[in-house]
């Protein structure tokens, strides 16, 4: 027979004081980034919450995986330089990126307002501004998955099975431009999504408005140019600007065959900056005036 102290175990000590360490503001931001990132991906949500995001991810990643797979099986069927393939690929995933921005950004911003979580977060070490920083980081991570993941798969996959680029230095050269291009592509789209989402607590409304804004920008400016307006009108089209930036970076200033190829780089940069700064200002003003104590 075992001694009583061996036989007995205390399984439930009940609620008791906590005397351990506390991580402060940095930990709070890290925790919110992780939680928001996983929520954005549909982790821990019911099946209905995973479907749209899952579909977007399939649309974004399938072409890259398929292209690499075809190249492995059938050889270099594209016949284009790797750099050109990656550049073209940004255009291929355009639909996925826009849809992702419209579906994920409202989930990040609207849901907290609708479910009272914003007030709860602001009763922690987070302030309005550190909350926004955490949300922005989560948003960039999520957008990075779509805009950066597929080109990286394509780059690493094609460079692994083919001869182009010939060496590690060349691969790294293309890689940094892919990373920078993806960031430039993601920022204005994320900013527009965040601005719209900051103005409503209804996710569906935000999703619809973001989709309409992005599509209308493209359609209206295309019509204006087709009817004789000069090329700079395209600077009102956030989608075209977002996708032109990786083109310019990857082409290193060469003029290509894009709709904005005639627009000087400085105009492009100014318009891109405006599409980032103005929506970000809207977000900041919106959160500065949001009442949260209920």
């Amino acid at each position: 027979m075992r001694a009583p102290e061996e036989a007995a175990r205390l399984l439930d000590t009940g609620y008791r004081p906590y005397g351990g360490t506390r991580s402060g503001v940095g930990g709070a931001i890290g925790s919110l980034v992780r939680y928001s990132f996983l929520r954005g991906l549909g982790v821990g949500r019911p099946f209905g919450g995973k479907v749209p995001i899952g579909l977007v991810m399939v649309v974004a990643y399938l072409p890259a995986v398929a292209l690499v797979g075809v190249t492995v099986v059938a050889g270099d069927v594209l016949g284009t330089p790797l750099e050109q393939s990656v550049r073209d690929f940004f255009g291929l995933i355009a639909t996925a990126v826009v849809a992702f921005a419209a579906l994920v950004v409202p989930e990040l911003f609207c849901t907290d307002k609708r479910t009272g979580m914003l007030g709860r977060y602001l009763s922690t070490p987070l302030t309005r501004w550190t909350y926004l920083v955490a949300k922005a980081l989560a948003l960039l991570c999520l957008l990075g998955l779509v805009v950066l993941g597929p080109p990286l798969i394509l780059l690493l996959g094609l460079s692994g099975v083919g001869d182009d680029p010939p060496g590690l230095v060349q691969v790294l050269d293309v890689l940094w431009r892919v990373v920078a291009g993806a960031g430039l592509l993601a920022l204005p789209l994320a900013a527009v999504g965040a601005a719209v989402s900051s103005l409503t607590s209804r996710r569906v409304v935000a999703t619809a408005v973001i989709a309409v804004v992005l599509l209308l920008c493209t359609a209206v400016t295309a019509i204006l140019v087709a009817t004789g307006s000069p090329d700079p009108v395209y600077l009102a089209d956030v989608v075209s600007i977002a996708f032109e930036m990786p083109y310019r970076l990857l082409l290193l200033g060469e003029t290509g065959d894009t709709v904005l190829s005639g627009v000087p780089l400085w105009q492009l940069l100014a318009a891109w900056s405006a599409w980032v700064v103005v929506p970000t200002t809207v977000v900041v003003l919106s959160y500065a005036t949001t009442k949260v104590s209920r």
């Binding site: 009940g14 506390r22 925790s31 709860r120 009763s123 922690t124 070490p125 302030t127 949260v292 104590s293």
Partner: protein
């Protein structure tokens, strides 16, 4: 790491405000409020719209006052908010939570944001949910829970990171009488057995009276503080209602026995005045033997006693006096 504030046992003033003003849209929500909240369980009373939730927002640093000084456990919420808020557990009035998240995940996440490591947050969220009576339900999604259960999840969210001050904004809203009783007992237990200071905002006098040691009443932008339990425990008054015919004899007997007694007129008593043929006597017991003497006098006079009660502590009186009565 704990913020450098004094531990609860060393805190004399949990919350103090001095000449606190807050104007919103030209309206003075707080107009020179001088507030003092001591240790223990404190009720925050006021009519709907009196500014209770707004005051809580100021105490948490969610809003800035127009002018005046606020100290919560020695810290200024406006300047030291990120240091102060991990020491505070806040359960807001709003009764919505993310519906698609299991209760334990939600509580754990908020404990993590409050600074606890992930493993500790997970463990403590389970403990907090057991404490509020949702141990068996902790993996259920919040959207499938009843209003009473959601209120308990909100309380667990406020508790899990082991705050020193618990701020509960209308925690019994939407609860049936049994649920309300259970929640109030739990709140009292948190303030007494678990050593947390509790600030309970409510517009219901009965529930504040039931669980609080003291009360802060907000009215017309000003705050009035009062102790409750000490007065209750040491109450030396008895309210006596007897037949009018025997009232004179009872009064004389009580005076002869050394008790102070005063007859209260129907006009003073207002709606609570005794009916026709009844007299209302206000008796003061000032010595240890007076309780027994009162019983003996009533028995000797053969008086028909309709009511003999100990006044609770006059919270209604305090509240009506502060708020200007039935205006």
């Amino acid at each position: 790491m704990r913020a450098a504030a004094a531990p609860p046992s060393e805190v004399d003033d949990v919350v103090t405000t001095r000449d606190l003003h807050l104007r919103i849209g030209g309206r003075a929500v707080l107009d020179g409020a001088d507030l003092h909240v001591g240790p223990g369980v404190t009720g925050l009373l006021g009519a709907n719209g009196a500014g209770k939730t707004t005051l809580i927002g100021l105490l948490l640093g969610l809003q800035r006052p127009t002018s005046g000084d606020i100290r919560v456990m020695g810290l200024d919420p406006t300047r030291d908010g990120p240091r102060l808020r991990p020491l505070v557990g806040y359960s807001p009035q709003l009764q919505v939570l993310p519906p698609d998240v299991p209760a334990v995940d939600l509580v754990s996440h908020l404990a993590e944001v409050q600074g606890l490591p992930r493993s500790a947050a997970r463990q403590r969220s389970s403990d907090a949910l057991w404490l509020v009576g949702l141990g068996e339900e902790r993996t259920r999604r919040v959207g499938t829970m009843s209003t009473g259960q959601v209120q308990r999840v909100k309380l667990a969210c406020a508790l899990a990171h082991d705050p020193r001050l618990l701020v509960l904004d209308e925690p019994t809203n939407g609860l049936d009488p049994v649920q309300r009783e259970g929640l109030l007992l739990l709140v009292r237990r948190l303030g007494t057995e678990l050593g947390m200071h509790v600030l309970l905002s409510s517009h219901l006098l009965a529930e504040v009276e039931q669980v609080c040691d003291s009360v802060v009443i907000i009215a017309d932008g000003r705050a009035t503080s009062a102790r409750l339990r000490q007065e209750q425990e040491h109450s030396s008054r008895r309210l006596l209602v007897v037949d009018e015919a025997s009232a004179a004899g009872v009064e004389a007997g009580l005076l002869a026995a050394g008790l102070a007694v005063a007859r209260t007129s129907a006009q003073d008593l207002g709606p609570s005045a005794p009916g026709e043929g009844l007299a209302h006597l206000d008796v003061t017991l000032s010595a240890p033997g007076h309780e027994a003497a009162l019983t003996q006098v009533l028995a000797a006079a053969g008086a028909g006693v309709h009511r003999l009660t100990e006044p609770r502590h006059g919270l209604v009186d305090t509240y009506l006096a502060t708020t200007g009565g039935l205006r």
